[in-house]
């Protein structure tokens, strides 16, 4: 650590101390458990044995085990869909809302405030509310959609393997939209108005202004929003537990829930840890994207 510190320019001593403290905390309380998980994924584990790091080494056997399971392919595809679709809709809807509420109209600020209310709800509560909304026989969602003529027969959102994953995604999008709107609003507000005026004088229409100014100026904000959103989506657990628990028949199973089921329900800790380690690789990629997006963010 000392050697590392000495490589920093000395004039930033104060800042290094500040950052160092937080990093140390995270390394200790998050880094070690993480490492523990990785170690477990290469070992043969019997959970009942006292906590020790010295267990029989298993090489890649746990990973082979995980991939050889019949549900592995489905879990992979579900996870990608869950993260990808959640992000896509969260960002797009969040962006549209942020732009809507940036316009000047009565009650705009107030309504935006109301919107954020969705985000302060605990995931568990959101889960139970959506479970009620999604109920096939008496759920209000089916009723509304039928009344609007969108549906002709009830959808059993949580029990139909064709829908269960999308039901979970819908609830997750609902949960994530306010956060996206929040961050994107801040980014949008930071774009100088004269840029739009200049573009308007140059004859750009609204659509061209969006592609020519808004999007490029929002690049770093979008980078942050997407990568944070991806990480939050990969952490989503309460919602899954409340809604489908990965079912029916693994149709809505995603990596984080599978890993938990393996580790703590059927006590196949080695396999569970292997799935968790694979997830970390995914997060690693997202983190790289985020860090890249933070470069050149200062325009001053």
């Amino acid at each position: 650590m000392n050697k590392l510190l000495s490589r920093f320019p000395r004039e930033n001593g104060f800042e290094i101390t500040l950052a160092g403290f937080a990093l140390l905390y995270l390394l200790l309380f998050a880094g070690l458990p993480l490492l523990y998980n990785i170690v477990l994924s290469f070992q043969q584990v019997d959970l009942m044995e006292p906590a020790t790091l010295l267990r029989p080494f298993a090489g890649l056997a746990n990973y082979r085990d995980v991939f050889s399971r019949p549900e592995a392919g489905q879990v992979l595809s579900n996870t990608l869909q869950f993260v990808g679709l959640s992000l896509l809709f969260q960002v797009v809807i969040g962006f549209l809302l942020a732009m809507l509420f940036l316009q000047d109209f009565p009650l705009a600020t107030f309504m935006r405030g109301l919107f954020l209310a969705g985000w302060i709800m605990p995931g568990l509560v959101v889960g139970v509310i959506w479970k009620l909304l999604f109920a096939g026989d008496y759920g209000v969602l089916n009723h509304v959609l039928t009344q609007m003529g969108i549906l002709h027969s009830k959808i059993f959102w949580l029990s139909d393997p064709q829908w269960s994953l999308y039901a979970v995604i819908i609830a997750n999008v609902w949960l994530g939209v306010p956060f996206n709107m929040l961050l994107l609003s801040v980014g949008l507000a930071a774009i100088p108005a004269d840029l739009y005026e200049a573009a308007e004088l140059d004859g750009a229409n609204a659509w061209q202004r969006f592609w020519g100014i808004t999007l490029p100026m929002m690049k770093s904000t979008l980078g942050a929003v997407v990568s944070l959103g991806a990480i939050m989506t990969m952490q989503q657990f309460d919602l899954l537990a409340a809604l489908t628990q990965g079912g029916p028949a693994n149709s809505s199973q995603v990596a984080q829930y599978w890993s938990w089921q393996l580790s703590l329900q059927t006590f196949e800790v080695s396999a569970g840890s292997a799935v968790a380690t694979l997830m970390m690789v995914l997060v690693l990629i997202v983190a790289v994207i985020y860090v890249r997006s933070t470069r050149n963010e200062r325009m001053v």
Partner: protein, 270 residues
């Protein structure tokens, strides 16, 4: 005219979005039979409620108090530890800080449900389980801190570098410059991030469930989960509990939202 068209659109969108919340409140006042009706009723026909009963039977006062304590503790420590770090990672930009940001993100890669077993074991060894609420605070910070750093960092980036330079030249030490000049300018971002952290930890479930071994320290989320059991699923009770749980935060949020939203949008310094 255009303003009113926009307002109507916004009203519709907001109403659609808030519908689940409405449904929660409406269910509180329905009877079980009415809840199972199809087509469902959009307004309770014979309003009844069990607010008081649920609140008392479920020992919610105690649970909410514990949730509040834990959320305050988590927010406090996160602010204390995270603000400086967020500033440092915004101020100094080189490959080391890039690496640090990277580490911060990766360190919270796994959901709490997977981290809890090693944390439980370690906390047991450290004797932290003797002070269960404190243990939950310590564990939750591993989740809230990265989130807070990333959010807060963005507001520090917005503070022009030259202000710090000016303060340093004016005779401030780096610490004085931070507290006297930079911190006040980032205060909106800090406030908003802090509120988000507070709400996040108020709704935390996994760590509280596993690290608190004595019910008198248990939190409201865990109390809610007790409703969903093998032999009993009381939807009305669940919704009543949820409503009691989230209403105080919703009210607090309503009161603060003007400030939050204003702070957010006016955050960009020119």
């Amino acid at each position: 005219m255009k303003r009113y068209v926009l307002m109507v659109i916004a009203l519709i969108v907001t109403a659609v979005y808030l519908f689940p919340l409405y449904w929660m409140y409406i269910t509180v006042f329905k009877s079980a039979a009415e809840m199972f009706q199809f087509p469902p009723t959009f307004w309770p026909q014979q309003a009844e409620s069990h607010l008081r009963q649920v609140f008392e039977e479920r020992n919610m006062a105690r649970f909410l108090w514990n949730s509040l304590l834990i959320a305050c503790g988590t927010t406090g420590v996160t602010l204390l530890v995270g603000t400086g770090a967020a500033y440092a990672l915004a101020q100094v930009q080189n490959r080391w800080t890039s690496a640090a940001i990277f580490a911060v993100l990766v360190l919270q890669a796994l959901p709490s449900s997977l981290m809890v077993t090693p944390i439980f074991t370690a906390f047991k060894g450290l004797g932290l389980l003797e002070t269960p609420r404190f243990a939950v605070v310590i564990a939750q910070i591993t989740k809230t801190l990265p989130f807070y750093i990333v959010l807060c960092r963005a507001s520090f980036v917005q503070v022009p570098r030259e202000l710090r330079d000016a303060a340093l030249v004016d005779g401030a030490s780096p610490m004085r410059a931070f507290f006297g000049v930079i911190l006040p300018l980032a205060v909106n971002g800090i406030l908003v991030s802090a509120i988000l952290v507070f709400l996040q930890s108020f709704g935390e479930y996994v760590y509280a469930r596993s690290l608190i071994l004595d019910d008198q320290y248990q939190t409201a989320t865990v109390g809610l989960s007790a409703f969903v059991g093998a032999t009993k699923t009381d939807w009305i009770g669940i919704m009543t509990y949820s409503a009691i749980f989230v209403t105080p935060i919703l009210i607090a949020f309503m009161l603060l939202q003007r400030k939050i939203v204003a702070g957010l949008t006016a955050g960009a310094l020119k």
